[in-house]
């Protein structure tokens, strides 16, 4: 589904990603772990178009998407969330959600002004979908509140909700459970599993919480110093000596 080949990214004199190659099979849930500064978020940014790699390629569904803009990559079916949630603070939760849907006819200038029936119908459909997602995430009551007024955990939920609204084929999640309670984490894990079962969504997840990684992921990739250190199933990674060294005492 997703292949990153030999990606390199330099920032000034610092090499953040150093010839990193990873592969994610369709329908799988892959975890990406590594200490802070290992280059995980940079890798995400390279894959999703925020940065252009200095070298290397990104292939999605067999198509070379290297260097495409984020909105173009969205249209291919790849969505991401952010580690530090980027909700649109001055807009309501519903508006945040409505913005995420695909192929909105009303976004065309003329159709928007004329407010054609097709536009209104689509808005109604999207609204229903948005409310559905908000209910699943427990945010329905807050739907008209400004996103700025949410708590940390709620903001994470909104971030995920928005990602769901994009109806992605593949979802890149950057620390989705950071700051979430145990209950919220459990809910999220169920959500991810359901999406994989029901809609066949592929996942690549950056995580620090080991129970999430171990229980959720088919495969785990470990990064360090911008390189891929190790790759394999949960048990293999747990036993891997190099991984244990890197995580000295972090509770692998």
């Amino acid at each position: 589904m997703l292949k990153a080949e030999n990606l390199v990214k330099n920032f000034g004199g610092l090499r953040a990603v150093n010839h990193c190659s990873i592969e994610v099979e369709k329908g799988s849930i892959v975890g990406l772990i590594g200490p802070n500064g290992a280059g995980k978020t940079t890798l995400f940014n390279l894959i999703t178009g925020l940065y252009k790699p200095d070298y290397g390629r990104v292939i999605f569904k067999g198509e070379d998407i290297t260097g495409l803009r984020p909105d173009q990559i969205y249209r291919k079916g790849l969505t991401r969330t952010f580690q530090l949630t980027r909700e649109l603070k001055g807009m309501s939760l519903l508006e945040n959600m409505m913005l995420a849907f695909r192929n909105q006819k009303g976004e065309n200038l003329f159709k928007g002004i004329l407010n054609l029936r097709s536009v209104r119908e689509q808005e109604r459909e999207n609204l229903a979908k948005a409310l559905e997602i908000l209910k699943t995430l427990g945010l329905y009551e807050l739907r008209n509140e400004y996103a700025a007024s949410l708590s940390g955990g709620q903001r994470k939920m909104l971030e995920i909700g928005r990602a769901l609204a994009t109806e992605p084929e593949m979802l890149l999640l950057d620390e989705p459970t950071a700051g979430a309670t145990a209950g919220e984490t459990g809910k999220l894990m169920n959500l991810i599993n359901n999406m994989r079962e029901e809609k066949g969504v592929t996942f690549l997840i950056v995580e620090h919480k080991m129970e999430v990684i171990m229980n959720l992921c088919d495969k785990i990739i470990v990064m360090n110093h911008g390189e891929k250190l190790a790759e394999g199933k949960a048990e293999e990674i747990r036993q891997d000596q190099r991984v244990r060294e890197v995580y000295l005492g972090t509770g692998a």
Partner: protein, 326 residues
């Protein structure tokens, strides 16, 4: 007295169009446009050149004719088109960059356009300006008469009403939603699949069209224009109206314009000029506006009428109700 009031209402209405345009660029989309006077100028001069009666101009001893005497609708449409085109041209290099850069480029472009108006006498008659600009329905209502003023006011208000409805509709529409998303966080909006540059460009060009039309109306209102009417001071005045009235809110835009243009600017014309210092009162007026702007930014940055939050369900419901065939 009546012509005076009609005159004020007309100029306030024209400025309202400018402020609405600025609101679409800045209030909706977060584009910093400090070159409003430039778009205003281009609209006014396009109309003036196309519709004024032919007149003479001299440049380096060569005699030129300025003014094609075309009918006023052509002047109006051309003003909109040229201003929109200017927005497009400016937008291509600058909309990809940080907002601050757009600010600087727009200031510069507006000033350069003004220099062109002063220098290129073969096109604009320089500082003499262009006179005898056609008014709508001139053949029925000769210019410099009360009926002509009233017709122009009605015409201007009609255009203002149309533009206001369009602007409001856009705000609530998905298109407007994307613009607001861009203002909040351009990167996220891009990740949600919106081609940000295209939307910015549309917002910018639409604003340009509005401002061009306002310029055309202004030319018709004064029937004689000259470069000094488009100094950066007026850009600043429009910003003042928007900030004080409430950026993001179209009713706020109208309110701010009525207050600042109507009261501050026009009404203080009643104050007597101090002998020997003809520039004192006007300058004091503008100083007062500058101070007011800073005070508003400090104390009530959202303006008099803050941005109305959108309740999506309500918007969709009202649409449904108002369209029920029965």
């Amino acid at each position: 007295m009546l012509p005076f009031i009609i005159g004020i209402m007309t100029i306030v209405a024209i400025y309202c169009i400018l402020v609405l345009a600025l609101n679409m660029r800045w209030g909706y989309c977060g584009l910093l446009d400090f070159g409003v006077a430039g778009f205003f100028l281009i609209g006014a001069y396009t109309t003036a050149i196309l519709t004024s009666a032919p007149s003479e101009s001299f440049l380096f001893g060569v005699r030129y004719t300025v003014g094609y005497g075309l009918p006023w609708p052509i002047g109006l449409i051309a003003a909109a088109a040229v201003s929109g085109l200017l927005a497009f041209i400016i937008g291509i290099p600058t909309l990809r960059l940080r907002g601050d850069y757009l600010a600087i480029v727009t200031i510069g472009v507006a000033e350069i356009l003004r220099y062109v108006a002063i220098q290129e006498k073969w096109l604009t008659r320089g500082v003499q300006g262009i006179r005898n600009i056609a008014r709508p329905f001139e053949s029925f209502f000769p210019t410099a008469s009360l009926p002509s003023d009233i017709i122009l006011l009605v015409f201007t208000l009609a255009i203002l009403a149309l533009f206001f409805l369009i602007a409001n509709r856009l705000y609530k529409s998905p298109f407007g939603r994307v613009l607001r998303g861009i203002k909040e966080d351009e990167v996220v909006t891009s990740f949600l699949g919106k081609p940000v540059f295209n939307f910015k460009m549309l917002s910018f060009v639409l604003g340009g069209i509005y401002m061009g039309v306002a310029g055309a109306l202004f030319a018709m209102y004064t029937t004689a224009i000259e470069p000094y009417q488009f100094i950066p001071t007026y850009t600043f005045l429009i910003w003042g109206c928007l900030i004080v009235g409430g950026s993001g809110n179209n009713w706020g835009a109208i309110l701010g314009t009525a207050l600042i243009t109507g009261f501050f600017w026009q009404a203080t014309r009643f104050l007597p000029s101090i002998a020997g210092q003809p520039q004192l009162i006007p300058a004091l007026r503008f100083i007062a506006i500058g101070v007011l702007l800073i005070v508003v930014l400090r104390l009530r940055p959202q303006g008099l009428l803050p941005e109305k939050p959108i309740k999506v369900e309500e918007v969709i419901d009202t649409d449904a109700k108002s369209r029920k065939p029965g």
